[in-house]
């Protein structure tokens, strides 16, 4: 999947949990979910579950552990898609 499309999909996934809309406007690879988007940490689980649903992949605990930034999340999704 093209990275730009992946980024668009990820942005749509995190959007409902974002508490800092300015962070979402400026979303880029370096965006941190907690620091920049102020996503509540309990909602990180929802992000992982939504990613699973959207991409048809399974996010194991070791992968979820890293999914605190856009960059790390894209890496996880790309690796899981490649392994499908």
């Amino acid at each position: 999947m093209e990275k730009k499309l992946l980024l668009t999909k990820l942005k749509a996934i995190v959007a409902p949990y974002v508490q800092n809309p300015k962070g979402l406007e400026r979303l880029n690879e370096d965006t941190n979910f907690l620091r920049d988007l102020e996503i509540n940490s309990a909602n990180l689980v929802d992000v992982a579950l939504d990613v699973e649903d959207e991409f048809g992949i399974e996010i194991d605990n070791d992968s979820m552990e890293r999914m605190l930034t856009v960059k790390a999340s894209i890496e996880v999704i790309e690796a899981k898609l490649a392994a499908k």
Binding site: D46, D62, L68
Partner: protein, 196 residues
């Protein structure tokens, strides 16, 4: 070392559906899930255990100064008092109110007293209010206190009067803000104990 976590139950209900398929099993072990589902109030127990996990995680991250991670299932809250992260043990204390749950965690062998304060936030700029309350507790001018985070996003309070760094854990959720701190043994200023 310390950590704390606050859950506003009204906000939690609005933000999270813990009954969503897969949600519990991403956070809790099978044994922990049983404990939650068999509790008199699973709605309360789920956030009770979540706040203990978060508080212990913050204490653990501070001990090792490691990069932020999100792996709640590795933080074992099966015991009602002691939380285990690998071979590390943290003692947690959890208090319940009608609309909030607050947990603190310290290394189980820690003997230093911890202080805390908890208040309802009235506007979005809770940090200014937090600093003024801390200044009162430390009997210093608010301008002498700075909240900063290190590279790993771990917060500390800098007291310019005494040039000291005080480990502080801050948690805000919904309508509430809570923080706990532990004074270095050498801290000379008299500190007024604060009750939640």
């Amino acid at each position: 070392m310390i950590g704390n976590d606050l859950v506003d139950l009204v906000a939690a209900k609005a933000q999270s559906n813990w009954k969503r398929s897969g949600w519990l099993s991403k956070i809790f072990t099978a044994q922990e899930q049983d404990q939650i589902l068999q509790a008199p109030s699973p709605d309360r127990m789920v956030w009770h255990q979540w706040s203990r996990k978060e508080a212990a995680y913050k204490a653990h991250q501070r001990v090792y100064n490691h990069v932020p991670t999100f792996n709640p299932i590795q933080i074992d809250t099966t015991d009602p008092t002691f939380v285990r992260v690998g071979t590390n043990v943290y003692k947690t204390t959890t208090t319940h109110h009608n609309n909030r749950i607050h947990s603190t965690a310290i290394i189980a062998t820690e003997t230093a007293a911890i202080s805390q304060l908890l208040f309802e936030r009235t506007d979005s700029d809770y940090k200014t209010i937090l600093l003024s309350k801390l200044a009162k507790a430390f009997t210093v001018e608010a301008s002498q206190l700075i909240l900063s985070k290190n590279k790993q996003e771990i917060p500390q309070l800098v007291c310019q009067t005494t040039n000291q760094f005080i480990p502080i854990s801050i948690s805000h959720h919904g309508a509430f803000v809570a923080c706990v701190w532990m004074l270095p043994k050498s801290f000379s200023k008299q500190v007024t104990p604060f009750e939640a």
